[in-house]
Point group: C2
Chain length 344, copies 2
DNA sequence: GTTAGCACTCACGGGCATCGAGTGCTAACA
DNA sequence: TGTTAGCACTCGATGCCCGTGAGTGCTAAC
């Protein structure tokens, strides 16, 4: 048996209806609500075929059919292939990131908010992650008589900072001089390399032992627990609005997964760095998400780093809408992180 | 009718049992499970009195009694008065903030995790908030040819940073010189004052118009949308484990409240800055939390700023345990933020 | 003041009938 | 040959009834 054009149309209608209502859809519904000039009996025959082909499931004999993961897959693939992602609605939706927003983390948090409130699903945004960052500048800023703030600017714009103790009292100028030395010595090094070089530098500039020791401690520690990328989540409560999660246990599992940010980041990032990824139900590889889908898109910064934005929703997600929203927000983030700083 | 010692003991037993099981407790349960040498009939009489006094509610006539908010209030008050908060268990629980943790936000996030996993309730931690921060140091760190990172260290240790555009190319030394000038000029000023002074400074040092304009823009913006305090939440999913939230709608309301951090911060902070606060059910003043209680404690930094840690749980919360945990963690945070930096 | 006894209440859960949405099949029709 | 009307059948959902049991309140006896 083959898929023909009519079967395709009917499948489409079933998917549309199920996405809308979340209730198994019967043959009558299709023959009446959608413009097929066919009777329910004919639809029934076709549905029976579609079930045999693996596109439909039947929860029990006297209920309607629901689309299988395979059906969504087909649906999404044609969606992606025909490029139905409306990019131009960008203008109509407006820009969500007006004004100057300074801290990358704020932008990311905000993006998660925006995406979740637009889609009514759960949104996850990961900060960009590139290769090993390389040091550009090291600067010590006096904080109090004995404390200094270490600011390390890397080529990824990522700033790591921490307050350390500088042993003897040092004035601003001394700190600046040391900063210059450190910058020259460490420029272009990765953080790991910097770590290795510190003892040698300490030998050359003596007298600042304590400070360098603290700096060393700070860097090694940073190595051990690498600053995982920032993960922003928005709209977790949205999921509870869908009947899929009217079971409290399921909901709890889902929520606690959303809380373990590291795991969540792995799941979201799991899809490589393609422009769009759609993983449906079992494709997610996460048991807790057996009846969820994950849609991701990527954005990039001027350094060519890739960040990820994603939406988690029930398998009967409004894929088309979600893809288009992710597309828009992805572009806006890219604009912002690449144009924003240097060209504006 | 008066409360006597026996009524008190019985009420105590009822509360204990209800906290444990979450099920209305009957007279037999009390007479058997607890060491009162009284028969169920006697307990029944006493319970009837306690109900009349407003300490017990009866969901329906053939069910047991449940403690009212007033009962919890009494319970907590005696708990607080008799100082049953076991402070010494501090050692047995161990220190949760071992190792050097650098960023205040990380510490706060971590604290929320720890508290929620110890209590099995939802934890909220607010970053310290004091009076207007005053500038200590301003430093410009070169990032690229045309960009610089502004680091402003305030007396609250709070560092605000942002990348701004410095017009013409400036080398590290020039930026340092400007930084020194700015530091001298702006030291001790609040951010608002700094804002006001910039134009005047710009007039004196000419040639760096663009940079100062950017700096000005950055500061005014910071004024308009004051950086609200950091709010860390942990264990929201814990709440779903309690039968109180087996109703999905209730759960969703609760969760979406947890998501609006600003509102949440207001609620948690709503209690002033007392050492301990317990608000029970209606006392929270939040309709979504009609059957929740909020317990808060405060911690402080060396600058005398107050931060808040809090636990949100069902009214039948293990108050004693929660108070003791908050006590411990509060002390640890205080130690960390006041001793940690300067004395260690 | 305490307790045993007893009638009464009422949520809960199982059993049962009903309902209705939906299916599959067959036979008739174009 | 494809489409449709008709019909018997399935099975979850809904609603009702009723027995059960935990728990109460009251009374009378200790």
């Amino acid at each position: 048996m083959e898929m023909d054009e009519r079967k395709m149309r009917i499948l489409q209608a079933i998917i549309d209806d199920y996405i809308l209502t979340g209730v198994p859809v019967g043959s009558r519904t299709i023959s009446r609500k959608y413009e097929t000039g066919l009777s329910s009996a004919t639809i029934r025959n076709e549905m029976s075929d579609l079930e045999e082909l693996g596109f439909l499931d039947q929860p029990h004999v006297s209920a309607g059919r629901i689309p299988s993961a395979k059906a969504y897959r087909l649906y999404v693939d044609t969606l992606l292939k025909t490029g139905t992602i409306p990019d131009d609605s960008r203008s109509s939706v407006g820009r969500y990131f007006a004004g100057r927003v300074h801290q990358m983390e704020d932008v990311i948090d905000h993006a998660a908010q925006v995406i979740s409130s637009l889609t009514h699903y759960t949104a996850v945004v990961l900060s960009p992650k590139g290769s090993q960052p390389r040091i550009r500048t090291v600067q010590l800023v006096p904080v109090s008589a004995e404390m200094a703030l270490v600011v390390i600017v890397t080529d990824q714009g990522v700033v790591r900072d921490s307050v350390i103790r500088v042993g003897s009292q040092m004035d601003s100028d001394t700190l600046y001089a040391i900063s210059r030395t450190l910058t020259i010595e460490l420029q272009g090094a990765t953080l790991a390399e910097a770590c290795d070089r510190i003892p040698e530098i300490a030998r050359r500039i003596n007298g600042n032992d304590q400070m360098l020791r603290e700096l060393y401690g700070y860097l090694t520690e940073g190595q051990k627990s690498p600053r995982r990328s920032h993960v922003a989540v928005g709209g977790t409560s949205n999921m509870l609005a869908y009947p899929e999660y009217s079971d409290v246990d399921k909901a709890r599992n889902f929520l606690s997964l959303m809380e373990t940010r590291d795991k969540l980041a792995d799941i979201i990032r799991g899809s490589g760095e393609m422009a769009f990824t759609v993983r449906i139900g079992p494709e997610t590889g996460v048991p807790e998400m057996a009846d969820c889908s994950i849609v991701t898109a990527s954005y990039s910064t001027r350094d060519g780093q890739q960040g990820t934005i994603g939406v988690i929703g029930p398998t009967r997600m409004q894929y088309s809408r979600v893809l288009s929203i992710l597309n828009i927000i992805g572009h806006q983030l890219t604009d912002m992180f690449s144009g924003g700083d240097e060209e504006r």
